[in-house]
Each structure stands twice: as C-alpha cells, then as structure tokens.
Symmetry: C2
Subunit: 364 residues, 2 copies
C-alpha cells in the first residue's frame, strides 16, 4: 500500500538483487525508516526485536533470512544453523516455523552450490503467495462493504470499526482485516474506519491509523471504550477484525478486547466479521474459550507507554503511581455465536464447523 | 480514607479554623500535595482548574468557597458576586449549582453580620451530609460483597471490577462505586479490585489505583479491553461502577466503556451493580440512549497522555503520528436491562422505575 504516495510492501528485494529491505516498524508512527538486511544476523535482529511483526510478515522475513544465509554460506551446517537461529528469534510464531520448514523442503535435497538461487526463488514465492492470499481475502471482504453501500443507493459513507492492527504492516501487503477496506477504497467506495487504539500496546493508534492515513483512507481514532456507544447510535455499519487463531468451530482468538466489540455488535445488530487466511485455523480445537491458553505479557506494557514529547524525542512515560500492580492478558476469545462470518482467501463463510469445512474440505 | 496511613477527606477545615484544605488532584498519581484555600479566588481556581473533581466534591468546595468569601466580605453584593464566580468556574456541574442554591437559602435572609458563621456551619453540614450519603451507600453495597463471600464459606477472595473513578476522591469520603469496597475491606472481607485504566483520561490508572493502594485494598490495574476475558474465566464476582446521570427507568449514563462491561457481565452471568446517590437520578428521563446527549471532548485527550518520564518529570506524549484525527465521546449509556441493581444511600433496588420509585417515593 502507499506511503508518502509511493506503493510499498513490508519486505522487498533491494535493487542490488541480493539484499532485502524492510520497514522498521518499531519507529512507527513517529518515524518512517527502511532498513537493509544483508545477512542472517540482520534477519534474526529484525524478527527478535520486532522491526517486523505480524505472523505472515514474520514468516516471509524468515524465508528471506534463509536466502541471505545461503548467500553467505550454503553448507548443510550453515543451513541448519540459520534455521535454528531464526527459529529462536521468536519461537512462538507459528508462521516462522512454517516458513523455515518450507525453505528446508526445497533446500535440504539440493547440493550447496544450487541452494542460493533456490532459496531466493522460494523466498520470493512465499512473499508473493502471501500478497495473493491477502489480496484475494480483500476482494471477498470488499463485497460486504460494497453491498452495504449499494443497499443505500450509494448516498452515504460506509463506517467500519476495526480493532488492533491486522493491516498490511502485519502481512506483506493488503493485510487481513484491512484488506477489504483497502480494496473497497481503491474501488471508489466511500469508506470510513473507526480505529480502536487497542491498549495496551496501541497498535491501532500507532499502526492502523498510520497505515490508513498514508494510503488516504478516511479514519478516526477512538479509545477502546467507545465502540459500544457508536454502535448504539448507528454509527458503525460493520466490524472487521483479524484473528491469531481460529477453532474449527469458528471461535476466534484475537487481540484482547475483540470480544467486547463483538458483544456490542451483537447487541446492536451490527455485522461482525473476522478476516483470516486459512493457515490460522487450528483444526484440532473445538472450544476456543476453554482450550486456547491466553498469553500474559509484561505488566509494564500497561503501566508505561511510549510517545513523542514536545521536544520531538520519543520517551516512555509511567501512567500510574510507582509500584502499582497490573495484569496484561494479550488476547481474548470471541465465541462463534457472536461472529457474523469469516472472510478468507477462499470466500466468506459462516463462523461454524460446516462453514469452515465447506471452504476448506482439503484441511478439515 | 487513608493516605500514607493517615485518614483524609478530600476537603477539610484547616486547623486555624477559617481556611480550607484540599488535595490537589491534578498532581495525582505522581505527587500527593495538599493546597490551602484562603479566599474566593482560591476556591474558583480549585474548581475551574480541576484540583477538585467529582460532582459531590465540587459541590462541597463551592459551599466552602462561599464561606471563605463571607470571611472576607459578607455584603449582599459580595455574596452575589461569589455565587456568580463559583458558578462560572464549572457551569455544567449540577452539584455546584445545587450547593450554591443551598448556601443562598441560608445566607440571603441573614444580616451580613451573621453570614460568616452561618456560611461555615452550612458548608460543614453539606460536607458531612455527603460523607453520610456515601457511607450509607457503602454499607448497603458491602452486603452484596459479604453475601458472595459467605456463599463460598469465606474461603476465597471476592473479585470486583470497576470502571473509571467513583471513589472517595470524587466525593468527600468513601466514594460511590468504591464505598462498598472500602466498607467490605474495613470489615475484614478479603476483596480484590480489577481496576479498568479508563481511557482516554485514565482516571482508573491515576486515581482509583492510587486510592486503593493508599488505603491498602488489593487491586490490579488492567486495560479497558480485559474485563470480558476475565469474566469469561470466572475471575470477576461482581462489577460496581458509578453513574453521572440515571433515568427514572434505571438506565445509567457513566464514563465511556461502562456499557461494554455491562454487556460482558450479562453474557457471563456476572452481577453488574451501579452505585449512586439519589441526587443523580433525573426523574424527567425515561430512555437514556435516546435522551441523554453525550459530551464530545477535545480529541487531544485521545491523542496525548501525561505520565512520568525516567527523569521524574511529568510530560505529555503524543501517541500517534502527527495529524491523526480522533473522536472523544466521554460517556455512554447502559440500558437498565443490563444492570442487576442500583446501590443507593437508601438501599439496593432493581434498575427500574418501580425499583427507584420504591426507594424514592418522595421524589419519583
């Protein structure tokens, strides 16, 4: 999508044909900086220190990390060591493991002399495939927005509420929850986005608002507390969020607070959609609330927040008195009964076992 | 309640018998400072610049402001001018107008030579009456906590979730939503409070957490997004919030986000109580969502937040890129159907017209 009117992906081969470039997302929203990755160490740093984040982008970065490692040394030992190093950079990221496995499938059987070229080719494929998935998901989802618009004889703006960042910054391009919005906007449908700031890490305020502004999509930032009031007063036409993990029955585990918005949508007859690539479905799970463990993160994420001071310096400030105890649950589960539908790269389906297995008969 | 192990009210006569002291709430949670009010100007400053906040405390401060004005000059003109100055300090505060009217009822008929003494007496009465209302409300509400505790044979902690600050800092003492908690804690019932930080102004993080910590009540600060997850997992026994305005049918208008917690409580069979002094009931309203206008405040409250930097200086930081648009709805309405009961100074009742008119037959 666009940054300063120039189309970008979140990761791309440098013009010299061997290095890789990324957006340093730790500097957002205050500074837009790109970083050049030249070797395995750079790639591990980019993943471990969260210059890149979002499951699909982490996967793509790992694939390019292997390519850069093969550029330096394509021996069996180097391949093994590169996989281990990248895996340890963020061991809980499912896509990271998946991308490394994909790279090994191609590279293990090859003679070291052929590995460099094959690694670059496979990394590029993984990257392009991710764009294709997001783009396809976006096309399917944009029809929901278009239908609302056409249902009103195209005389008003369609208001979409989203939570957290499931935008192009979390993928290679287009995003998941934001892909339908970008597709609708690009097609000339007047869409406006209510952006939940998404405490405690504020990915809505720092990433989603930044993305939408750069691409020119009208939007308004709100505190996470506001969505219910907006829905009570007819100011939201539909909600679209992402999901980190989806059960085979259609329960979705997403950023903490998603459940509260789904309850408000249900209480006010506002459609609540969740966008996901099929890879995030965990076919082994049936009951999200009971079965999905919820990560507890550092309390400091609640107690402190970074921002830019009047002197242009980014500082972290303490929001409470010294010594206050905080808890930081990172995700919650929204039961399928509150989800109107799931938007996938294969189409839109009901949030149910029959809905998902209808779209993914090969995986169900 | 206690600060540094010393019992405090939010406003009290100074030991010299004529000045008044308050806690400067703008300095919380980072610094605890008391301020001496010696005249009308000091009192107007305290109200207008929000050194004191919360409807009952604003009312009490206005009453003391009149007393201080009479201490300087008790003429008819001085009384008139003091009332006007204090009213303009925060014209939307209903209790402010009420307290000024109460003072005039006593002072208008008197000879200027008798006004000083009468003003101090009436200000003290208004202050003590407010403590009595909160204390009584707290006694009634604490029985709900006690019942839960006894229902479990007293073998576990009772977890209460609250939103925003309806604590003793908003009143003269005890508070409204927090009064039942302080009463239960003081009675030896093991109670733990989940404190919503309450974006955008963070009154939970800066005031509620501070109050509870100073008084020694166990508590944990959470992002506003977290409550639903906690309720899904049985970690909340009841919710208690305050209300700024209550309809005769039991709808409550409280800090933005209250509605989302009420939805989660309803979805998980968690009792959701709202604490209020009878004075906040607006007997002219029947439908809170349709009839109560919701204040929109400065977007900067969403975009910027103050906190303490590592160098000990409190600074405001910008949370987004420059130029992001934000909306800041300050309150929302929770329909009576989601409210388990209302806790008042006269007892606990159903959130309904019959419930309220049963407790307030003289007002209904």
């Amino acid at each position: 999508m666009k940054v300063n009117n120039t189309p970008y992906r979140t990761i791309w081969p440098a013009s010299d044909g061997w290095a890789v470039e990324i957006i340093d997302q730790t500097k957002l929203p205050h500074h837009f900086e790109t970083v050049r990755l030249e070797n395995l160490t750079d790639s591990i740093h980019a993943i471990a220190d969260m210059l890149v984040r979002g499951a699909p982008l982490i996967g793509a970065t790992a694939a390019w990390g292997i390519a850069l490692a093969m550029h330096e040394n394509a021996s069996d030992l180097a391949l093994q060591s590169a996989c281990e190093g990248l895996y340890q950079a963020r061991p809980t990221a499912v896509n990271l493991r998946w991308a490394l496995d994909e790279m090994r499938k191609v590279l293990d059987p090859l003679d070291p002399s052929s590995r460099r070229e094959a690694a670059y080719a496979r990394a590029m494929e993984i990257t392009d495939d991710d764009v294709e998935i997001s783009s396809s998901l976006g096309e399917h989802g944009s029809k929901l927005i278009k239908n609302i618009w056409e249902g009103r004889r195209r005389d008003s703006i369609v208001n979409v509420l989203t939570h957290c960042n499931a935008g192009w910054l979390a993928t290679v391009d287009w995003g998941t929850a934001l892909a339908p919005i970008y597709k609708a906007h690009n097609a000339g449908i007047p869409v406006h986005v209510w952006v939940d700031e998404t405490r405690p890490r504020n990915q809505g305020a720092s990433l989603t608002a930044w993305e939408l502004k750069q691409h020119g999509v009208p939007h308004t930032l709100i505190a996470d507390n506001v969505g219910g009031h907006l829905m009570q007063h007819g100011k939201v036409d539909l909600c679209i969020t992402g999901t980190d993990r989806t059960t085979r029955t259609g329960d979705v585990c997403n950023k903490i607070g998603t459940y509260l918005k789904a309850l408000a949508a249900h209480d006010n007859n506002v459609p609540f959609y969740v966008a996901l690539p099929g890879t995030t479905i965990d076919w082994t799970l049936r009951d999200g609330v009971a079965e999905i463990p919820i990560e507890e993160r550092d309390a400091d994420e609640v107690l402190r927040i970074p921002g830019m001071c009047d002197d242009g310096v980014v500082r972290e400030v303490l929001l409470t008195a010294e010594g206050v105890t905080a808890a930081n649950y990172a995700f919650d589960v929204t039961p399928a009964r509150l989800v109107t539908g799931l938007i996938t790269e294969r189409g839109v389906c009901a949030a149910s076992e029959s809905g998902l297995s209808g779209l993914y008969p090969d995986l169900a």
